[in-house]
Structures are given as C-alpha cells and as structure tokens.
C-alpha cells in the first residue's frame, strides 16, 4: 500500500482521569489522534476502552484532564456539540431503531444537517421535500458504499447481527464525520464479516479521508488496519505506537499473555 497523507493532530486527549465512586476507570490517560489516521485503542476486558470513547463523545465527564478537538480545548465534551463538530460513533451493543427500516435509520444520521423545521417536513412542502431528497441521495451513496442495497426497506431488527453492525456504521457515516469512533465494530462477527468490516473501515479512511478511532479485541484486525495503537490496562496507558512497536512492548505482552509477578 502506498503511504497515505497523515496530517496534524486533530484530537488530543490530555491527562484524563475518570472514576465512578471508588472505581478508578481511567488514570491520567494522554494520547493524540492525527488527521486521516486509523488509531486503535486496545486492551483486555475492563481496561477502560469504552470509557475512553465515552469521554471523547461526552457520555462521561472525566474528573480531570482536557480534550482538544481541532484546536479547541474542552474539560468536558457535550454530546450534541461533539456530534455537530464532526465526531460520530458506533456502539458496542448497537444503537439503532430496530423497528425502522435501514433507510430511516440512516436518515436519522442526517438529522443534524436538516435545516427545515418540523412543520415544513411534516407537510412535505417545497424546500423541505427538496432537502429530504438531497439527504436521501446522500444516504443512497452510503447504502451503495456499504453494499446493503438488498436491505433498504427491511426493518433493522430483522437483519442478521453482522448487517446491523453495518447499518450502525452507516448511520454514523451519514453524519459525514471528520472523526469516526468505532466501539468494537467486529465483535461477535465471523471471519468473513470481519474481513468485510475491515475493508469498509479502510475504504472509509481512504476514500473519505475520515479519521478513525477504533476499539477492537481482535489483535489480527488491529495490527492489520491501524496506523498507531494505544494500549490500556486497568485504566492506565501501558503502550502507544505503531502496531510493530506495540507488539514488541514488554508491558503489552505481559498484560495480554500474563507474566509471573
């Protein structure tokens, strides 16, 4: 593969600590994400990976530390604000409207970009209709991109899990995000589905230049598709670097394989 152009730091996480009562979920975590890169966060169960994503997109408020996005520094991120700034995410346990069709689910991803008001939309009057057509067209490109044409009108709840994951990704993509946070996009998938999903992640990164931050358990996948990897263990950062560096990091090896203490 030819080298893609990785830009400056777009997302900078500084000294984040998060605790729930007496449980210290994250301790003094710092790392950065550069524009156009695929950045992975890995670690054993309970290492604090999802908590880290939740801090970035404002679900949790860390007690200490700051997060900078495109030069603006925040001590706490507001979910709505995060979304409008161009950060989208998918969820480990899927967050879709199961009774709605694939198209409708993807259209919800366009919500922030719809300008016409509720009344105009309800009546489908002139500008509202034109706007909807425009958004619908964008959604169609996502459907084409994710190869889910056969399921346009299927209720999401009826789709197999692997496809639901794809729709979840599509909903995030519909926001045209600059940074995409993926929480275990390949969890519970078989080998073929994992390959498909890896290809989509790489294509998103490549074709749209979207910066991807992903949490993943499957080390093979992480090592194959990431540019840089952060390793967490018990809420602490124990490694950071290219897949090669991380693979040879003794602390990482001991966290994953265990050593005699």
């Amino acid at each position: 593969m030819t080298a893609k152009k990785i830009g400056d730091v777009i997302l900078d996480v500084r000294n984040i600590s998060l605790s729930f009562g007496g449980v210290q979920a994250l301790t003094d975590i710092s790392f950065d994400v550069r524009e156009h890169e695929v950045r992975a966060i890995i670690g054993p169960n309970g290492a604090g990976k999802s908590s880290m994503l939740n801090c970035i997109n404002g679900v949790y408020t860390p007690q200490q530390g700051t997060i900078s996005f495109k030069g603006q520094t925040f001590s706490h991120m507001d979910s709505h604000q995060v979304a409008s700034m161009g950060i989208a995410r998918t969820f480990q346990n899927l967050a879709l409207f199961k009774g709605m069709s694939v198209i409708d689910n993807l259209m919800t991803g366009r919500n922030l970009r719809i300008r016409s008001n509720l009344l105009l939309q309800a009546l489908r009057i002139g500008p509202a209709e034109r706007e909807e057509i425009r958004h619908r067209e964008f959604v169609e490109h996502i459907i084409d991109f994710l190869e889910i044409q056969a399921h346009r009108k299927t209720a999401v709840g009826q789709l197999p899990y692997g496809l639901q994951k794809r729709v979840d990704l599509g909903r995030a993509l519909a926001m045209e995000p600059q940074v995409l946070l993926l929480d275990e996009p390949m969890a519970g998938m078989n080998l073929e589905e994992k390959q498909d999903m890896s290809r989509f992640v790489l294509d998103i990164n490549d074709e749209f230049g979207t910066t991807v931050v992903l949490i993943e358990h499957d080390m093979g996948v992480v090592m194959d598709i990431s540019d840089r990897v952060v390793v967490l263990d018990y809420g602490k950062k124990i490694g950071d670097g290219t897949p090669e560096e991380v693979r040879n990091n003794p602390a990482v090896i001991s966290a994953y394989l265990g050593t005699t203490h």
Binding site: T2, E140, I143, E147, A150, Q195, D203, D206, E207
Partner: protein
C-alpha cells in the same frame, strides 16, 4: 436479415434515438440509457480501444456482471472487428489463464476491484495482457499497475480521438460482415481445458431472430439480465436478442437484489435455469408455511384449483364453466398477487433451460398463469434448437425444432442437429471441431434422446454417461445417471446428487441436502443442528432423504427402460459440492468422474456394504485460502421395487 451487432445498434439509435436501451439501478433509482447515448458511448469506446491498439480479429476479454458499460465494451470491440470473450465473473483467477493465453488476449475489461485483482494476479502468467480497463473505481485508487486504466479515461481518450478522426467508428462498423467472428464463449468442459466456441454475427443473430419470431417478441419487451454474461443463455437473451429486437435490458443493482429488482421491473420476457425458479418457489413456500392458518387454507385450496385447471387453460384446452369461474376467483385472491410477488405479473414468455426441470415445479408456474416453457440448445448451437410452443409445454420434453433446424437421431441414440446457428469452430482446435461437426454440417450434441410421436424432443442423458449395470439382479440394464439424479433433485430437500452404477452391480448415490429447505424442515421439528455437516448427518435427515430415494425407486420401477436404475444405497455428503473445489462446472453440473476420484473411499464404502465411512476433504474458500473438513458419514440402504410392467 443479414447484419452485425454494431450495425443493429446504429440502426436502433437512428430509428428510436430516445427509446430506452438499458436501465441500471444506481443509488436506488433506475437510470435509463437511450439507444443514441449507448451508440455514442460505443463509438467513443471503439475509438479509444483502436487508439490503444485493439485490431480487427483480435480477442478482448470482458469479465463482470451485466452492466451497461460491459455491454458497450463488447459492442465497441465488435465495432472494430475484434472478438469479445466474456468470462465467468465468479471464476477463480487460475481459470482465466487458459482462455486469455489461448486467444493471445491483450485487452481486458474488468467490472470492479475483484476482477482487476484477479487479472493482476495472473498477469505474470499472461505477459501479453497489456491493457485492463475497469468500470467501478471503488478501492482501486491506489493501484498503479501498468496498463490499468478506468473506462472513463478510455472514453475520454476515445472522444478526443473521435474529434480528430470524424466518422472513424462508423467506418469501422461499416466494414463488419455478417460472416465475421462475433464472440467466443469458453465452455465449462467437464474434462480437460475449456474450449473456445467461435460464433459469427450471423450464427448468433440468425438464432436470436428465429427465437424472437417463434415467440413474437417486439421492442416492447423488458428483460432483467442477471445471469453471468459469459453464459451463452444470458448472452443470447440480453445481448443478441436485445439487439435483434431492440427491447430494454435491465441490470439489477447487485446479485443480492435480483428478486427486488425483478418485482420493480416486471419483465415480459424471462429466462432462468430451473434452480432459479426453484429458489423462487421455495422462498414462497417457506413464507407461506409461516402464514396464518386461514391464509394457508385459502392458499392450498386455490392451488388445488390451479393445478387442476391452470395447465389446461394455458394449453388452450377447453375448461368447464365452473372451473373457469373458480380459477378466476383464485386468480383474484391468490395467483395474481403471487405472480406479482414473484415479479412475474407481466411475463408473456418465460423459458427455462440448462437442466431438466421437475414436473411439479414446471406445473406450478404454469398453473398460476406464468407461461413457462422449456427449450433445448447449447453453446455450440447458439441456444435455440427446440422450443415449446405456447400451448404445448410439457415437463418431460424440450419442444419442437424451430425454423432452420433439422434434427436426426444417430444409431447410438445421439441427437444430431443441423442449423444456421452452429458454431464456426472450436478455437485453435480443428480436431475437436471435426469430432463434433461433420463435413455435411451435422453437429453431434452428445445428448441421448428421441423425438416423440408429437414431434417433441425428449432428452434422456449424455450419450457417454448412459451405461449398463453389470452383474447382480439387474445385469445388463440401462443406467442413465443424470436421469436418476434429476428425479432425486426434483425434491426440494435435495440440492445435488451424484449417481454411480455403470459397470457396477447396483446403483448408489451421494446426496447433497438443500441446507435452506432441510434447515427449515429441521427447525419446524425442533431439531437442533450445529451447521451443515451436523445437519447432513442427522438420522432424521437420513430418513427424510431415504423417503425421497424410495419414492424415486417406486417411480423408476414403472419405467420399462430404466427400472434397473433404482437406487439401492445412498449417503449424504458432509459438504456442499462446489465449483471452486472443481466438483461442479461453472454452470453447476456435477463432475461425476472427478467426484468419484476425490471421494473414492466413500464410493468404495457404498459398494462394500459398509454402514459408515470416515472422509477428509480439502476445501477452497472464496478468498482463495484452503482448509480441511472431515466427517464420518453414515451410509443407508434404500428399498427397491420389483419392476412393474406398464399397463398396456
């Protein structure tokens, strides 16, 4: 009418410039390409290809699904007097090497990244392959292989060339003659290398037009093109007849959306191998079983009427008033909506070919008012040899010889055909050509069969496969493996069958279950299973298959010729037979000899009377990796019946 494909294109573009030639569903909307736009595209592509060096009589490979630009590329190559070779888009890379080298191909059109990867993979072995043009650029941005370019670049180059050389493409098209080679199709071939079947413009168009006249096709037909363009059946229906008649070819959005697209388009002329009709019916039946009791009752009551009245009605036979009214009612509440659901509301003529079709399946479609018919033909005959007239469709014959065709049966039972649609030759293989094509123009089909009293052709099996039972109770009896296999395959639970018996003392079969139908059956019975292999080996499934085998035996026992072909032992295979593993041809026909070698321990165990056998098999996955599956397979006996003499 003697002409060529590109000349027909120009004719349509001149006569009906704004009429739709093709439609393709993109971004959820059907996009129309008019005849004039298509002609302009073809002219530009022809200029581009000429500039890149494609010359008269040279071959060009096209590989991909049915797409407007793939068709345009074939037309562009033909405009220059070059010969397009469509290859199967699901063929493994290694399978493309022989055709490309055999025809010294320098130019290729590839639909997308998957096809480009394949061609690049074999490039070392095909050094002459200079130019690869791709249609869909997705994922190809970073490719920098020499000679790889998008079809858009080719179009742009062609337009620039055309601006300097006015009328170049039209002059090239004018030079084309009906007797020129128009296309080459590689036959899947059950043994050895594939053979390139060379057809001229005239042979393809003559048959296309004869078929169109037989069914009164016009430019108003709508066709959905979803089978591989490398299959001559698809090529005739959506390319040769498309240009001969000037109707509209619709390209589905993707392989997965075919059923949805079918409903949206509502084709009037439809062509599919039996397995597609079977798949459609199975999906309907499975959904019907899930419907409420009242709906099921109504459905079955109406279907009973349809089965009794429908076929006679379709065949134009008189039907009593009560039956007519009952059928009308059934049509209103069941058959009409069902046809609509299948996407067949507007079908005027539907054909099935390539394999024998089960009588139940065949009758089902005719009884709900779909004019399903059979035809007989092959790559070498440009498809149309025998067709069934609208009112004489039957499940067990393949129709009457149509205009231009002569048929006779050789002493060994082989069917010989003489027709203007016969192949010109096998490419670079005069020996093979001489073997099938006699000096006085008769083509040996290698099918055994006969013309019945009504002049309909009936096919029994391949000539070389028809064998004899040796030893045992049925010593010397005729054994037609395909005939037996087909009878079994007509059961929805059975997907593939391989029958052995030639030179043996009895007939034994290996069965592939249809995982969808059997899986559904198992779910209904609360029968848990872990996967294909596990399901296949369930004792309940064995019993199910045994019932099927015994029904076939009972049926065969009434057949005077083939009573000795009854199946005495069977086993259910642990993996699906697959073309990627070489077990099926690309057109999904079983390769009996290859399978016998590969599964030799199983065949031996069948005949040795064992009740179980351990087997290890290598499998190839779609991405080219390979693995192993192993299992211990049970072997069961089936009841055979004493032959009954048919009542005189």
């Amino acid at each position: 009418m003697q002409t060529t494909f590109p000349k027909l294109l120009l004719q349509h573009a001149a006569e009906r410039p704004d009429a739709a030639a093709m439609r393709e569903k993109e971004y959820g909307i059907w996009q129309t390409l008019s005849w004039s736009a298509l002609a302009a595209m073809v002219e530009a592509l022809a200029c581009g290809l000429h500039q890149a060096g494609l010359r008269r009589n040279e071959h060009m490979v096209v590989v991909g699904a049915n797409r407007p630009r793939l068709y345009a590329t074939m037309l562009a190559a033909q405009s220059l007097g070059a010969v397009p070779i469509p290859l199967y888009q699901d063929a493994a890379a290694a399978e493309c090497v022989f055709p490309i080298n055999n025809a010294d191909v320098r130019f290729a059109f590839a639909e997308d990244q998957e096809q480009v990867d394949k061609l690049l993979e074999i490039r070392e072995r095909c050094p002459q392959l200079e130019h690869i043009y791709f249609d869909d650029p997705r994922g190809l941005r970073k490719y920098d292989a020499i000679g790889l370019a998008s079809i858009d670049e080719l179009l742009a180059a062609g337009k620039a060339f055309a601006a300097l050389h006015d009328g170049f493409a039209r002059a090239e098209i004018a030079q084309g003659q009906p007797g020129d080679e128009a296309a080459m199709f590689f036959t899947s071939g059950t043994t050895g290398n594939p053979k390139g079947v060379v057809h001229t413009h005239n042979s393809l168009l003559n048959r296309a037009q004869a078929g169109a006249r037989f069914d009164g096709l016009t430019h108003a037909e709508e066709v959905l093109a979803y089978m591989p363009p490398a299959w001559i059946g698809q090529n005739i229906f959506s390319y040769a007849q498309w240009l001969a008649c000037g109707y509209v070819v619709n390209c589905p959005e993707s392989a997965a959306t075919v059923n949805i697209d079918l409903k949206e388009i509502g084709p009037t002329y439809y062509f599919a191998p039996p397995r597609v009709f079977e798949g459609l019916l199975t999906s309907v039946m499975i959904r019907m079983e899930d419907a409420s009791a009242i709906k099921r009752k109504i459905f079955h009551a109406c279907m009973a009427v349809a089965q009794r009245v429908g076929p006679a009605r379709m065949n134009g036979q008189p039907v009593g008033l009560v039956d007519r009214l009952l059928y009308r009612l059934g049509d209103w509440i069941v058959y009409g909506p069902l046809r609509n659901n299948l996407g067949m509301s507007r079908v005027r003529v539907a054909y099935t070919a390539g394999e024998a079709i089960g009588p139940d399946l065949f009758t089902f479609y005719r009884s709900i008012g779909v004019n399903l018919k059979q035809l007989y033909g092959s790559t070498e005959t440009a498809v149309f040899v025998c067709l069934q007239p609208d009112s004489e469709a039957r499940a067990d014959t393949v129709g009457v010889p149509i205009e231009g065709v002569e048929i006779k049966v050789a002493d060994n039972g082989e069917i010989l055909v003489r027709s203007p649609g016969l192949l010109k030759a096998y490419y670079k293989d005069p020996e093979a050509t001489a073997e099938v094509l006699s000096a006085d123009g008769w083509y040996r089909t290698s099918d055994a069969g006969f013309l019945d009293a009504q002049g309909h052709l009936k096919i029994i099996d391949r000539v070389k496969d028809v064998g004899r039972i040796a030893g045992g109770a049925n010593d010397g009896a005729m054994f037609a493996p395909k005939y037996v296999e087909n009878k079994l395959k007509f059961f929805p639970f059975i997907k593939e069958v391989v029958a052995y018996g030639d030179g043996r003392d009895r007939v034994c079969v290996m069965v592939n279950i249809d995982v969808e139908a059997v899986g559904n059956w198992a779910e209904r019975r609360n029968l848990p299973y872990a996967g294909y292999t596990d399901l296949a080996q369930k004792p309940e499934v064995y019993q199910l298959i045994q019932d099927c085998v015994e029904k076939v035996n009972a049926d065969l026992s009434r057949d005077q010729l083939l009573a000795g072909s009854q199946v005495s032992r069977f086993l259910v295979l642990h993996k699906e037979l697959d073309a990627d593993d070489g077990e099926l041809t690309r057109t999904n026909k079983v390769r009996r000899g290859f399978i016998a070698e590969k599964y030799q321990p199983l065949v031996e165990a069948l005949y040795a009377g064992k009740t179980a056998q351990y087997i290890e098999t290598a499998v190839k996955f779609e991405d080219g990796r390979s693995g192993q599956v192993s299992a211990t397979l049970k072997i069961s006996d089936a009841k055979t019946f004493v032959p009954v003499k048919a009542a005189a």
